[in-house]
């Protein structure tokens, strides 16, 4: 009998069920979409913030200071101190290795010269050896990844072993000054005035505009720069981009003064300071520092935007809760006559309450689950649309696994249940309290 009542109620009162169902569906859709966006916003904004470049810089421990004004290095911190390129693979072995998203080593060679043809005088330029697309123990990384604001015409250089010529990229100002184009060839002389290990015939495969002093440099593969300097394996500076947790008071504490558990907790938190500490441990002779301008500011921006999303989600939850409970109350109030009839036919109050709560529950679970699915896809679509980086986004390119957040399903359906039941309770109670005969008389 109970099941039949339940079934008939859904079959015959389609309009009423539809209204309440639509209210729950829309409410859960909005709440799911907002929560799904709020939980992923941190990663998305972090990706956007990658445009600011490295947040940790590693330099060799030097016995003198950099004398550098306005990007011009007047006296590099001592010629002899370099990091070893082969040590960089150790970055993949530190505790927070998976948080390191980009590594870009560089080697500056100050006195190389471009010779356009046999008759012209050599023009002194600065050269910088970089990784462009390097495989660091499974992580493909390099300078273009850490400098997304660099604008390239042409392509990044590749290294061909055993080839006589090598590929370079020219800074935009330099290319303009020397009147060189993509595809032009020239001789690049190393600092020792002799063509050592690859220095010699070069061809420009790209021109890069950076908006800083790199515009006046020649960018070459790291190995070429090392060959030119006669210092195999040498790296003068490494930029690292890492996913970090915004700094708090604990992050600023000195790890060497912390004891036991606190030290472990500090060490195992992804603060820029602790990642830098682990890098110092892993690479001998390295001095790793967080870049405060990037690290500090990213932290604030990140926490503000995700905080805003959470608060908006809370507002959405509140509004959806109000709307759904109002819709449920109306749906029950409409059926007072039905309640009166059942009461006069001898149904107990608890039996009626059970029937109505079951209806509400079924509706909430069904509409809530649909709302979860729609809201999740909406969030994925919105996220992809808003944060699309260059590539066109289609539904096919969104993975199911990343769209559906399984944690949200019970939360959203549970909330829908609570709100729907809470919304219908006052109406059910009120209808049950009333005298059946007066209900029936008032509302035929």
């Amino acid at each position: 009998m109970f099941l039949r009542l339940l079934y008939e109620s859904f079959r015959r009162q389609r309009r009423r069920k539809l209204l309440a169902g639509v209210a729950i569906l829309l409410g859960t859709t909005a709440v799911t979409a907002m929560l799904a966006l709020a939980t992923t916003i941190g990663d998305r904004i972090h990706q956007e913030l990658a445009v600011y470049g490295a947040n940790i810089v590693v330099t060799p421990v030097a016995d003198s200071l950099d004398v550098k004004v306005g990007g011009v290095n007047l006296k590099p911190a001592n010629g002899g101190a370099y990091l070893h390129e082969s040590d960089l693979i150790k970055l993949r072995g530190i505790f927070w290795a998976n948080n390191i998203t980009g590594v870009s080593p560089e080697l500056r060679v100050d006195s190389v010269a471009i010779v356009g043809n046999m008759n012209s005088a050599p023009i002194p330029v600065k050269e910088r050896g970089l990784w462009f697309d390097h495989d660091l123990g499974g992580l493909r990384t390099g300078a273009p990844q850490l400098h997304p604001w660099w604008k390239l015409t042409g392509q990044w250089p590749q290294l061909f072993k055993g080839s006589d010529t090598f590929q370079v990229v020219l800074g935009a100002s330099l290319a303009k000054r020397l009147n060189l184009k993509v595809g032009d060839g020239f001789i690049l002389n190393g600092p020792t005035q002799q063509a050592v290990d690859g220095h010699g015939q070069a061809s420009a495969v790209g021109i890069v505009s950076t908006g800083d002093d790199t515009d006046n440099e020649v960018l070459v593969p790291l190995q070429i720069a090392q060959g030119g300097l006669g210092a195999d394996n040498a790296v003068s500076r490494v930029e690292i981009s890492a996913r970090t947790k915004p700094e708090d008071a604990f992050a600023r504490s000195d790890p060497d003064k912390l004891t036991g558990k606190k030290h472990d907790l500090w060490y195992c938190s992804p603060y820029a300071n602790s990642i830098a500490y682990q890098i110092r441990e892993a690479i001998p002779g390295a001095n790793a520092e967080q870049v405060r301008q990037v690290e500090q500011s990213e932290g604030t921006v990140l926490s503000r935007i995700s905080g805003l999303m959470w608060l908006i989600s809370a507002a959405a939850l509140l509004a959806a809760g109000f709307a759904v409970s109002a819709a449920m109350a109306t749906a029950i109030l409409e059926r007072r006559a039905e309640i009166g009839l059942m009461r006069s036919l001898g149904a107990s109050r608890s039996a009626i309450a059970l029937l109505f709560y079951s209806e509400t529950g079924l509706l909430a679970v069904f509409a809530g689950a649909c709302g979860y699915l729609i809201g999740s896809s909406l969030a994925a679509w919105l996220g992809a649309k808003i944060f699309a980086t260059g590539t066109a986004t289609t539904f096919a390119s969104i993975h199911i696994a990343t769209v559906l957040n399984p944690v949200l399903l019970p939360i959203v359906v549970g909330l829908a249940l609570i709100v729907a039941i809470a919304g219908s309770t006052p109406a059910i109670r009120q209808a049950l309290r009333m005298d059946p005969s007066s209900i029936l008389r008032a509302d035929a």
């Binding site: 009423r16 209204l19 309440a20 639509v22 209210a23 829309l26 409410g27 859709t29 979409a33 907002m34 966006l37 904004i45 956007e48 913030l49 600011y52 470049g53 940790i56 200071l65 004398v67 550098k68 004004v69 306005g70 007047l74 006296k75 911190a77 400098h147 604001w149 950076t210 908006g211 800083d212 520092e289 967080q290 870049v291 405060r292 301008q293 990037v294 690290e295 500090q296 500011s297 604030t300 503000r304 935007i305 905080g307 805003l308 908006i312 507002a315 959405a316 509004a319 959806a320 109000f322 709307a323 109002a326 819709a327 109350a329 109306t330 109030l333 409409e334 919105l382 808003i386 509302d443």
Partner: protein, 368 residues
């Protein structure tokens, strides 16, 4: 006795107090949410740009090689950039420390730098007092090459200078290898003046472009460069957050709107018997619809007034919690909220009226 429209309206609202109240609550919620979100949305760009101030300067003015910035450059920059912009002058020279190590010494205005470069950390001390003409901030790496931080002895072209360090700067950048001293002391010592002016303009890319154009024409011959990654990154993130917020506003407004519509139209549908009775007593279709419309519009109007107050308070609370600065109520969102609520109310009244038109009063009154 003739029943006027206003009497029917008043009685209908008062006698069905519970029903009117629930409709009012629904309309207040929709108006409140719309007000809060629109107020936040209108304020969002200014608030976000404010957060990006911690990244420091986004425009750098330098003199081309073999010339210097004009004497009045700083005053001109301040005038062009406006009172909202942060401006700091820098002058550089290479001196030797008491241990004979070459070091970059920078002359600057500490009060301006403290505001411009909020991310600089000062360790083992504090920012120098503005009245202290012999103060110095020492980069944390430079500090390793100085014998006594309380009496820093520097030599430039044979001229000695003794300063007392008030703290160490930690930035993770080139600043760590420098020593910063007050500009007047720097000029008196080296004879050179400001060579770089760093400016921070708060705003979107267009505003920064306009400032660059203005600075270029005020300082002909000088190099005015944007810090590209900062300008690009900022406008990208602000744009994206802006769009995200816009999507959120639409989504929530739609949800609340449709739910309110469902509640209101159900409450109108429930009054089929009133409708039948009035029709049987000679009311015309248009009279009845206008009655429903008027009732709904009245509720919507009351909802907007209450919702505007609640929504403004909500927006204030959200931005106070998140950004630490208040969002003041904005009167310009009111027409939009009113329009939205009226549209919901009118639709809620018209939707059931279409259903009711086909019904026969007699059949309905008999209870079929």
């Amino acid at each position: 006795m003739t029943l006027s429209m206003s009497t029917i309206l008043r009685r209908s609202l008062i006698h069905r107090r519970a029903r009117s109240l629930s409709a009012l609550v629904a309309l207040t919620v929709s108006a409140g949410v719309a007000t809060a979100l629109l107020t936040l949305y209108a304020d969002l760009d200014a608030k976000l740009h404010h957060e990006f101030r911690s990244f420091g300067a986004n425009i750098v003015i330098t003199a081309p090689a073999s010339s210097a910035l004009p004497q009045d450059a700083l005053a001109k920059v301040r005038q062009v950039a406006g009172s909202d912009a942060l401006v700091a002058p820098f002058a550089y020279a290479i001196a030797t420390t008491d241990r004979g190590t070459p070091v970059v010494v920078a002359g600057t205005d500490f009060a301006a730098v403290k505001k411009l470069d909020a991310s600089w950390a000062i360790e083992n001390g504090a920012w120098p007092d503005p009245s202290d003409t012999q103060a110095a901030l020492i980069g944390q790496r430079a500090a390793n090459f100085i014998a006594d931080e309380h009496a820093v002895k520097l030599t430039f072209a044979g001229k000695p200078l003794t300063l007392h360090g008030t703290g160490r700067i930690k930035t993770g950048g080139d600043e760590d290898s420098r020593i910063y001293i007050p500009l007047p002391a720097f000029t008196a010592w080296t004879g050179t003046t400001t060579s770089v002016i760093e400016v921070q303009i708060s705003g979107n890319a267009q505003k920064i472009d306009a400032a660059i154009t203005g600075l270029k024409s005020a300082l002909p011959g000088m190099q005015v460069q944007p810090v590209r990654q900062l300008v690009e990154g900022e406008s990208r993130i602000v744009d994206r957050t802006h769009t995200l917020m816009y999507a959120a506003v639409l989504l929530i407004a739609l949800t609340v709107g449709v739910s309110v519509l469902a509640t209101l139209s159900a409450s109108v549908l429930e009054r089929r018997r009133d409708f039948a009775l009035m029709k049987a007593l000679g009311g015309s279709q248009s009279q009845l619809i206008s009655l429903f419309l008027l009732e709904a519009a009245l509720l919507a109007f009351a909802g907007v007034i209450a919702g505007y107050i609640i929504g403004s308070a909500l927006a204030w609370a959200i931005s106070e919690t998140n950004f630490g600065t208040a969002s003041l109520p904005r009167i310009e969102v009111l027409p939009l909220v009113l329009l939205l609520n009226m549209a919901i109310a009118v639709m809620a009244a018209l939707f059931p009226a279409r259903v009711l038109r086909g019904l026969q009063p007699a059949a309905l009154l008999k209870g079929e």
